[in-house]
Structure formats: C-alpha cells, structure tokens
C-alpha cells in the first residue's frame, strides 16, 4: 500500500457555537514522511488530528483528501496507551484484526515478529497492568503498526513518559514508521526535531499555519546534530510568541 499525501483544504472547525478553532485552514502532509504539528496548548492540534481520522463531535467545513485515495487507511495512537486490561499483550497488538473478524495465523506470526522488534519478546502473554509505562506505550505503538495502515496519526504519544523512555520510543517509532505518512502532534520542540521530516507550527486564534520547517537529515536525530541545533532556537521563539 503506497503512502498517501494528505491535503486539508479550507477547514473551518468549531465546537458548538464557540469561536472557530480553524478558519479556512489549508495544509499539506507529505507522503511517506513524518510531519510534526507543533503549537501552543489549546490551539487545536489534537482536534485537527481527529478531523483527519474522520471523527465527529464538532462542526466542520472543508475537506481532507488522501492522494492516492484509499479506504480505511488510518491508524491512531494517543497519549493514553488504551491497552485492554483483559487482553494479553499479543492480543492487544492483534486487536484491530480481531475487531474486524480477520484474525488468522499470519496475524499472529506478524504480531510475534513485531513484538520482537519492539523488544517485548517474552511478554506476549503478559497482561498490560503487569508492564511498565514505557512497555505499555511500546505495545500501543506495536498495535498501531500492526494495522499496516499507510497513514499514522499520533497524538502526543510519548508525552507521559520519562525522558529516557521517551527517547527510546521515539527512536523505535522512527525506525518502525519509516515510509508511512505519519502525523505527530506534540508540544515538545525537541521531539519534533528528533522525529520529523517536516514541522508545521500552528498559532493564532483561529489557528493558522505560522511556518513550516523542513528538516533534511534522516530521523531519529541526535540533539547535537547541526540541523537540530540550527532550528531549535527559532522553533522555541515561534512557540513562545503564542504562549500565554
């Protein structure tokens, strides 16, 4: 399945009769790359991700287009791992196939392989509550990747983790999502610079794209790489402009 570009055009979105979060917002997400959406709290980053996923619960006008268009291409990972406590790790990883009634031996083989790549081998039959926070989030990442979707939507997936675990997961994620169109919402400039090919900064009210930064070296990037150092200061300044 080839990874699509995502085009959002003229999006106006509001909750009920509130002031709009976005007013004729347009932006492009590159195919097969990781795009990071950065912006101050409450600017609508997560809502934008939910709009791309096809969620409802808000009033919206405008379009989201996947090109080439493919049905049901989206996988989701949020801040909470959302692992089902009544299922073992491997059953959680295979959840999508089970929910669609497609579960087969090949899914099990792929799940075992992914679990090994995610360095969770030996924990296949463990219940989530017996795993550490980092292991749980790794399992959630594997469940998302198991879907084999061409678009991956990630909403601050590592924000609740400690610094070292976060770095490990960022690296694993960068390795395993290569070639997938990934949209990563974060409030962490360092995370964006470590993982993204393109950083889209939202700001203002209603939110608009303030600027876009393309980062050319291959992620994951070290904090002391020249490109990271070059962009970090500017990124912080842009974020601080909208920080209250």
């Amino acid at each position: 399945m080839s990874a699509p570009t995502i085009q959002i055009r003229d999006l106006t979105l509001r909750f009920g009769s509130d002031a709009p979060l976005f007013d004729t917002l347009s932006l492009d997400i590159a195919a097969g790359k990781t795009s990071c959406i950065l912006g101050p709290s409450g600017c609508g980053k997560s809502t934008l991700l939910r709009f791309i996923s096809g969620a409802t619960g808000f009033n919206s006008q405008g379009t989201v287009q996947f090109s080439p268009s493919e049905a049901s291409t989206v996988a989701w990972m949020g801040q909470d791992d959302l692992l089902l406590p009544w299922m073992s790790l491997i059953d959680n990883v295979m959840l999508g196939a089970r929910l669609r009634g497609e579960l087969s031996e090949s899914h099990r083989r792929r799940a075992v392989e992914l679990i090994a790549r995610g360095r969770l081998a030996g924990f296949e039959q463990t219940l989530p509550q017996a795993l550490s926070g980092g292991m749980r989030q790794r399992a959630a990442l594997l469940r998302t990747l198991m879907e084999g979707r061409s678009v991956l939507l990630m909403d601050e997936p590592f924000s609740a983790l400690d610094a070292l675990t976060r770095i490990r997961l960022q690296d694993l994620s960068a390795e395993l999502t290569r070639g997938t169109t990934t949209v990563l919402v974060t409030h962490d400039a360092a995370e964006a610079l470590r993982m993204a090919h393109r950083i889209i900064i939202l700001g203002g009210s209603p939110a608009q794209v303030k600027t876009t930064i393309d980062v050319h070296t291959r992620p994951p990037r070290s904090p002391d790489s020249s490109e990271v150092i070059e962009h970090y200061g500017r990124l912080l300044e842009l974020l601080l402009e909208d920080h209250h």
């Binding site: 089902l84 009544w86 999508g96 089970r98 929910l99 219940l127 509550q129």
Partner: protein, 248 residues
C-alpha cells in the same frame, strides 16, 4: 488469614451474645443463649438440612435467572435506544413497588411451591444486576470506542470485545450486591406461603415458641448466605481477573 478472621469474628459475636444473655437475664423464650441454640442445631440438624436444601435451591435459581434477565435487559437497552425508552420505566417500577407487597400475589400466581420464592428472589436480584451492567456499558471509555471505530470494528465486535468487558467490573459489583440480598426474596416468599424451606421452618418454630430453633435456622441461613456471597465473589474474581476485588 481470611478464615482466621472469620473464626475470630464469629467467636467474638458468640461471646458478646453470651455476655448479653448473662447481663440482661432475658428469659430464653425471648433470647436464648448460644448453647441452647447449638443444642437445637444438633437436635434439628436433619430437618434443618432438608429445609436448607429447598432455600438454597431457591436462592441459587433466583440468582441465575435474575442475573440472566438483568444481563439481557441491560444488553437490550444498550443495543436499542428505542427499547431502552420503553424499558427504563419498567425497570424503575420493578424497584419502586416493595417486593414484600408482591409476595402474596406471587404466591397466588405461582403457588406454594418453589416457583413463587424463586420469582421473589429474581425480582430482588434483577435490578442491581441490570442497572450496574447497563451503567458499566454506558461508561465505556469514549477513547476506546474511538479506537475501535478507527480500527474498523462493527457494532457487534465493539460490543463483544470492548463494551461488555469494560462493563464487567461494574456488573461484578451489582452481582455481589444481588448475591448478598438474594436470600431475602426466598425467605420472604417462604414466610408468605410455603410447605418447605428455612423461612417456613422458622415460622413453624415460632408458632411453637421454639425460639432456640428459630435462632438455629437463622444461623444456618446466615452461614449459607455468607457461603453464597463468597462463592460469587470468588467466581467473579476469577472471571474479572484483570480487576479482582480488594479486601474481604
């Protein structure tokens, strides 16, 4: 440890009981001491056991049927919002009318046999099971439902793999309450009209001023109620293995 706690608790209560009898000098036909009650337990053992079988069967049958009906009702209300609007008032009415007031009618309808007592137990058990299971399903995490939607799950798969398991801890709480109150239905039914069961035997002893036998029947009923409660609790801990109950 739990067994030791129970033994200590029982010994403490029996000690207090004996102290009360000694301190107040109440005549034995009002409050018999533990020893006459123990003697009554031995003397009437075979008869008590025979009546216990009837009551236990009524309680367990009521628990099973009440749980089945409660679960079916909750599932129907979750699946069909239209039916929910019709069923919710019935559910409330089933609790608004005191079950004791219904006992004579149930005996009239179902006769003096076990059926009327089982019906009483069902009426008592039905509501906590239906209400807790329904509320548990309603409180399924919206994030989990959203995840299931994105994964392409249909309504049946979402119900089976997400909604029902999410509701099981709440269902367990309701069933524990139901197990604790289930004997009430059976005993009240036996009081109103029956020819067998511990409730019947208590009335029989009461008419003959055999207060020690009444207390013996009460003791047997209490132990049975405890056994049923702890069996349900144990089973639920095994079924809802990801969220075992804490404490007793």
């Amino acid at each position: 440890m739990a067994a030791l706690r129970l033994i200590v608790l029982a010994a403490g209560l029996i000690g207090l009981w004996q102290l009360l009898v000694l301190a107040t000098q109440v005549p034995p036909y009002i409050l018999p001491g533990p020893l006459p009650v123990a003697q009554a337990l031995i003397d009437h053992g075979p008869l008590l056991l025979k009546h216990l079988k009837t009551t236990t069967f009524e309680i367990i049958a009521g628990l099973l049927i009440g749980t089945l009906l409660g679960v079916s009702c909750a599932l129907t209300m979750i699946i069909s919002p239209l039916l929910k609007r019709w069923m919710q008032p019935v559910l409330v009415i089933s609790q608004a009318i005191p079950v004791f007031a219904l006992a004579p009618i149930l005996v009239l309808w179902f006769g003096y046999g076990m059926a009327s007592k089982i019906a009483m137990a069902v009426l008592i058990i039905f509501f906590p099971v239906a209400a807790s299971f329904y509320q548990g399903m309603r409180r399924t995490s919206p994030d989990l439902l959203e995840l299931a939607r994105i994964m392409g799950a249909g309504p049946f798969a979402t119900l089976r793999y997400i909604v029902i398991p999410s509701a099981l801890p709440a269902f367990g709480s309701g069933l524990r309450v139901a197990a604790a109150v289930a004997p009430i239905g059976a005993i009240v039914g036996e009081w109103v009209g029956s020819s067998s069961g511990l409730g019947f035997y208590m009335l029989h002893a009461n008419a003959r001023m055999q207060v020690d036998v009444m207390f013996a029947a009460l003791a047997v009923l209490s132990v049975t109620a405890l056994l049923i409660y702890f069996s349900v609790d144990y089973l639920l801990d095994k079924i809802i293995y990801w969220e075992p109950s804490k404490g007793i």
